[in-house]
Symmetry: C2
Subunit: 159 residues, 2 copies
DNA sequence: TGTAAATCGGATAATATCATCCAATATAAT
DNA sequence: ATTATATTGGATGATATTATCCGATTTACA
């Protein structure tokens, strides 16, 4: 009859990645998709394709460009692209690292200063196992690979 | 000679769990540790044991108490404890769910409205694999189990 | 050379998360 | 009964993250 509502003091929401990283990954996949066809893409087009706020996406793309993960061009006909040669070299770990830093590699699951095998938190070994798999996945998954899913409408960057 | 400094616009920091969840898990492990010995623990003692801000920890413990994960007692000799009977029944998933909600069960890794196999994001299958393992780990790991690590100084809740 | 279209970069605003403060309530012990 | 000690709950403050705005710069093209 009546549902139970959980009225929480906190509105915290679990998120594996930060918004910035999410946009960064989505954008990179879209750019990879177009770059494969030799097409360049403007900020506005990227934001539309991945359904993200334009100005914020600009900041994220700037970070990726500074890190050399994508290449930016100013002026008319400008925009962003990923050079064909490096298309297979861009992995998710590069993007996350450029945006969120490398705390993913040394962070403790329970929030201790840093993950330390010598003085581990109680969750260390269980957590490390998962974190290592996540790390491995990010390091071995290329944007090119993920862009393939877009080609035949098998995957989507927005809904 | 000189290091390269990454001066980022963002200061985002990768974190698997929210601070609230981190404190919640740490606190629950400490309470489990003491409850096994039949001891009750005050807010102040909890905060000291897990090196967390007192007032904020109070809010987190309140949430856990409301959800019946821990039991609170007011007045002198008051504090928090986990009934011995339920000690083996409290899993990390209960704590995370009480604090961060269940977006961990249905969230999309790339930030789409929700994870949806029918219209998946390009990272869906890789992400789902990891998320399912994390979920499984949280659902099968009890605070009692983790408290054991504390007993012989094999694990630590602060440094 | 001028103009329009694009990114860049700095400042600022909005929101969410993290954290603190304090009065109210409950209760054990004197 | 009174007092001291503890959690509760509401309001508020601080910080981090997300988001926007706008002038400056770059550059293709007429
Ligand atoms: S010490 Fe906590 S995850 Fe390694
Ligand atoms: S749709 Fe993105 S993780 Fe399932």
């Amino acid at each position: 009859m009546s549902d139970i509502f959980f009225i929480s003091i906190f509105d915290t929401n679990y998120n594996m990645f930060s918004k910035a990283s999410e946009y960064g990954i989505r954008a990179a996949i879209h750019l990879a998709h177009l770059s494969k066809k030799g097409e360049r893409c403007s900020l506005r087009q990227v934001a539309k394709a991945i359904d993200s706020p334009v100005a914020f996406t600009a900041k994220v793309l700037q970070l990726l460009a500074r890190d050399g993960i994508i290449v930016s061009f100013q002026g008319p006909t400008g925009g962003y692209e990923i050079p064909k040669e490096s298309l297979s070299l861009v992995h998710l770990s590069d993007i996350v690292k450029a945006i969120d830093g490398d705390s993913i590699y040394n962070g403790c699951g329970l929030g201790l200063e840093s993950c330390n095998e010598k003085k581990p938190c109680p969750l260390h070994f269980q957590f490390k196992s998962i974190r290592d798999e996540l790390k491995e996945m990010l390091q071995t998954t290329s944007v090119q690979e993920l862009a393939k899913g877009l080609e035949y409408g098998m995957a989507f960057l927005k809904r």
